[in-house]
Symmetry: C2
Subunit: 255 residues, 2 copies
């Protein structure tokens, strides 16, 4: 395998949740934002806005929504927001008569947001900093829309915290890429329990030996739970998307 | 601004669409896939599968769906597929009684796919290779599901081509990050035409001077068109998601 500094950092990715009480240097922050600016964007529409959280009161409230205490304590906390409001307003000012944004616009904004977040994360890690993504931003987007004063045609989609690591977690085992790359079409397995057998053992070992939040668990056990447990608000995300003015397109006729 | 090799590559990102007639070395491919394997994943569910396209006939058919000739000619073509089928089957084999995957599962898979694609792109560019994302994979997901023999609970979400660059395009101007990062909440502008005035000029200059596909255009003109033009199949993506067995959750009651 060919390696270089970038790839070495990428292969060493861990979720860093605890940070030294030291701000991220301005020159680092500038580099991270510059990388965000250069990130690829669907049809060049740049349909994502980053909300940088610096107000401790708001960070505390966001932490409560995410249900993770470390969110409020991180030196930097970004919320990536799918944003079609700017382009909608721009189109109107330009004299066009825009239709409410569709699910296609929404998906493009979500892609922009995730690409930007990962690109920034690579810059963060290359600078010797660390961080982690906050999927729990989806726990209650309605509350966040209120908290962040978000206009129509926008929706928070992902969070990210970063700073100087005060944590050195083990690498979390991953399912072998051999099982996740198929050639020319989908390759079904006869037994998925067989397919993840080795991985299950690795994960159990990982949970048995890591320091914090010890639990004995396996991937298949986790997935059995993940695929059966309702995630309440999160399953209703389309209702929130619709409430924000997006056209779900469910009444469109087939081509 | 702090710089290093990783960030220098990131700031130099361009969409590379044309490639030398030379395969990607096995050692490079291994590194790119290893980076994919280590990418962060929502709740660790790893709900994305990569379809690597090596069959020229299938690449040609995919090219027709994407409507971009260079897709069929790229040395490497990956399709990122949101995949809840594996975890659904795994849960069943484990004796659980899984509900059809929800939009929450779908969003987690889409996040996994985009994070992995961007992470791989950073590895690709660090190796001196180039590539671009194919948002046009969303042009007709129903046809692709057939073409790639995709099972229920899956959906193609993004494509990517890469190889040895035979193209050296200009950097495409971007809207200043100062307008895309807000602090502690959404910051509305009085006039979005004013906000993008400089950027409009930059974009017009970019289109006037670049070699290929010359057109005189501005960002606001593009967005006026993008926000008013229906994208047909792409606006109906939820119907395809529903057809693939996902529960859209529109009948769930408010909490």
């Amino acid at each position: 395998m060919n390696r270089n500094e970038t790839i070495t950092h990428q292969l060493d990715h861990r979720s860093i949740r605890f940070f030294k009480d030291r701000p991220v240097a301005e020159e680092d922050l500038q580099a991270i934002l510059a990388v965000g600016e250069r990130t690829a964007s669907s049809v060049g529409a740049q349909s994502v806005t980053v909300i940088r959280m610096t107000n401790q009161g708001l960070k505390d409230q966001l932490m409560k929504i995410c249900g993770q205490e470390y969110v409020a304590e991180a030196p930097e906390l970004f919320v990536f927001v799918v944003n079609l409001y700017r382009n909608f307003q721009l189109a109107k000012e330009k004299g066009a008569d825009p239709h409410p944004p569709t699910m296609n616009h929404f998906m493009q904004g979500a892609a922009d947001a995730h690409l930007m977040a990962q690109n920034m994360m690579n810059a963060i890690e290359s600078l010797g900093l660390g961080g982690c993504f906050l999927g729990n931003i989806l726990n209650d987007v309605d509350k966040e829309i209120e908290l962040l004063d978000l206009p129509p045609y926008t929706l928070p989609i992902l969070g990210m915290i970063f700073g100087h690591p005060d944590d050195d977690p083990q690498l979390k085992p991953r399912l072998d890429m051999a099982h996740r790359v198929h050639e020319n079409g989908y390759e079904k397995a006869d037994s998925y329990l067989d397919l993840v057998e080795d991985y299950d053992q690795e994960m159990t070992h990982y949970y048995d030996t890591r320091n914090k939040n010890q639990r004995s668990d396996s991937f298949s056990k986790q997935m059995a739970s993940h695929m059966t447990t309702s995630s309440e608000n999160r399953d209703r995300i389309l209702k929130s998307i619709q409430k924000q003015g997006f056209d779900l397109g469910l009444d469109l006729e087939e081509s």
